[in-house]
Amino acid sequence: MKSRKLTAILAVMAMTAGLTACGSQAAAPQSAAGSDTGATEAGGVEITVTTTFAGEDTNAKNYKDAVAAWEQETGNKVSDTSATSDETFKTRVITDFETGSEPDVLFFFNGADANDFVNAGKVVSIEDIRAEFPEYASNMNDDLIAASPADGVKYAVPVNGFWEAMFVNTKVLEEAGVSMPGADYTWDQFLADCGKIKDAGYTPIAAALGNIPHYWWEFCIFNQQSPKDHLNIPESAGDAVGEQWVKGLEDIKDLYEKGFFPDNTLSATDDETFAMFTDDKAAFLLDGSWKVGGIVGACQSDPDDPSTLDAEKVGHFDVTYFPGKGDRKATDLVGGLSMGYYITQKAWEDPDRKDAAVSFVEYMTSDEVVPKFAQHTASALKNAPKTDESEFNALQVKAMNMMSGVTSLTGAVQDLFNGDCRVPTFDGMPDIVEGNVAAADAVQEGIDIYQDTLE
């Protein structure tokens, strides 16, 4: 009798243990993603890293090469979860922090997008790291390292700066009889050119308003302002800044109503409209410096092999300034050093991964690696090496020439206007341009959310 009772109890215990085992098994992938992995074979450590160096990013290949070189040099491993920089990427990273599955190292925005995990104390400040590793980011000019808007502390070590400007398909422009825009390009000239391009049977602007309206949002608002006041956030849609934002969105609506965006701009993805641009079907593409690599990659028969570059095709592309309006000159661009490498508290608390994470960031921000990433953009290096133009392709050289004429670089106000505040005007852009939602209402909704987050 007793032995049967014992058997029954043991059976229950075995079942419970089985369930627990199932639980741990189910949790295994998460902990792998969340970098709970220990040391790998040969004494190496595996760290999880997420960056935006993926997809069509200019530095996607540089990043892969640098990671491989670091792995070879240190014997450590990188479990990489890099993805194209968009709202989904930002959401994923923030959600990972919220659910405790953040990576060990991340290359992420240093603006308000990082506020949640900075406020939660989930990343380690550069100062704290230097207390233990005095050489950490010592090659950087500290004045150029941006402090977090959440607490004024510096966390992210920058690599390359960025600029946002207007890429041009010169082949389309030629066929439409439009001349290449220059430093004095105005909004009215731009509207006239778009009309000509449309009449010639081409799409004037390659943009997916239902997917990535960010760049148009930023510049059309900037066009109502000047570099001095662009980073102001309105208190209501009715105040002076709020009205500028509304007018900016109404400019996008005007472009949409004139038929200057692709026919499928509300249902297309950014990749689709980008393909229109590189396939000589659209004339203008407003995007960031990271798109140079994507355009060059589209001109290569093998996107990973620069030797397969079609020089004639890449010659069809140029980059210029976004048309100016009001107090903003065309040469006033959006740009800066808006991203950097963070080390998470999770990695910092694990002795093995702490060393590996610091080593990784030091390698990726070294004097040798940073220039490869920075190319035609800025960096925060104290001793930036001189660039040799012969190392760059035609579009990169054009980008450098364009940058030499820039009169100001201002940060993106959307980086200060937290993720979910942007939802009514980003995700709501199709409704705004269709007239289903008034621009003023969408702006006010975003401001309400912003003020709610400040409480």
Binding site: M1, R4, K5, A8, I9, A11, V12, M15, T16, L19, E87, T88, T91, T95, E98, T99, G100, D116, G210, N211, D263, N264, L266, S267, A268, E272, A275, M276, D279, K281, G419, D420, V423, D427, P430, D431, E434, N436, D452, T453, E455
Partner: protein, 295 residues
């Protein structure tokens, strides 16, 4: 000696682990979700800093939110597409395959194959098929002289474009169930009907379909409840309810509000709507598609 079999406490002891599992992973989150729907939460994994004002604010918003009504309408359409498309087509295919003498196994494999492919991969596959520029379908139509490209993801076609792959993916699943049901029908009945002069169609209509009633009912119940859970394929093809938030289903809208818009408390409210909808529809389905005990 035999008391161990009579005593109920061992049964309870064996049921306990599963019960605990359900409490921790189902009932506890469910009640927390109800609580969350009254709070103001913008960060996942927290309960927020304050109550909504008024506390039932989200429920008022739910009733007034036009996108909720769009997602409910789309979910209803998805259920209809499931009943007619998935189960309907599967029934026709099963009856046809049942009437061929060779190759049954081949058809089973071919029709079942889409089930083993991940919905996300299928979403990407159909994205390429329905692509605006250079998509397979538009290129195919060009062969027949069509000069203008069709945007299959535009307002006019988006819902159909979303439902076709979902229906296509699960036809094979119901086909296998129905085919197995058909195999259980005695051959003698068909032989007797043939001797009596019944045509092939009459044999199907008067023997196969009535005797399959219970299997069809099971398929319909599975189909209706399954339609409420469709998520990955529509989200891959139409993220954020693109275009103009008109392709949202209740599940995708809840995900959007929680993960993308960071409106976590409203997402929790939508989750409650989904639970209520699921309970009501499964009860309704059980009433409508009641299995017959005569078969």
């Amino acid at each position: 000696m035999s008391n161990i079999y009579k005593s109920k406490k061992y049964i309870l002891l064996f049921l306990l682990p599963a019960f605990l599992f359900l409490i921790i992973y189902l009932y506890y989150p469910f009640f927390v979700n109800i609580y969350s729907s009254f709070r103001s939460i913008r960060t996942l994994g927290t309960y927020g800093k304050k109550w909504n004002d008024p506390w039932f604010e989200n429920y008022v918003k739910l009733a007034a939110d036009p996108v909720v009504w769009i997602s409910l309408k789309n979910t209803l359409l998805m259920i209809i597409a499931t009943i007619l498309g998935q189960v309907g087509i599967a029934l026709i295919l099963a009856l046809l395959v049942d009437n061929v003498s060779r190759g049954t196994q081949f058809f089973r494999t071919v029709f079942f194959f889409p089930i083993v492919i991940s919905a996300t991969a299928l979403g990407l596959l159909f994205n390429l098929i329905f692509l605006y520029d250079k998509g397979m379908l538009n290129q195919f139509l060009e062969l027949f002289g069509k000069t203008e490209l069709t945007d299959w993801k535009s307002e006019a076609y988006a819902l159909t474009t979303m439902m076709i792959p979902v229906v296509w993916q699960y036809v094979g699943f119901y086909f296998v169930i129905l085919e197995t049901g058909l195999n259980n029908i005695s051959e003698e009945l068909y032989e007797a009907a043939a001797i009596d002069g019944a045509t092939r169609f009459q044999r199907v209509w008067y023997i196969s379909v009535p005797l399959l009633r219970n299997v069809i009912c099971t398929c319909l119940t599975l189909g209706v409840t399954g339609a409420l859970k469709v998520f990955d394929l529509p989200w891959t093809m139409f993220p954020k309810g693109m275009p103009l938030k008109m392709t949202f289903l209740t599940g995708t809208y809840m995900y959007y509000q929680t993960m993308e818009a960071k409106n976590v408390d409203y997402g929790a409210t939508l989750a409650i709507l989904i639970v209520v909808l699921g309970v009501v529809l499964s009860r309704l389905t059980r009433m409508v598609f009641k299995e017959s005990e005569d078969l």
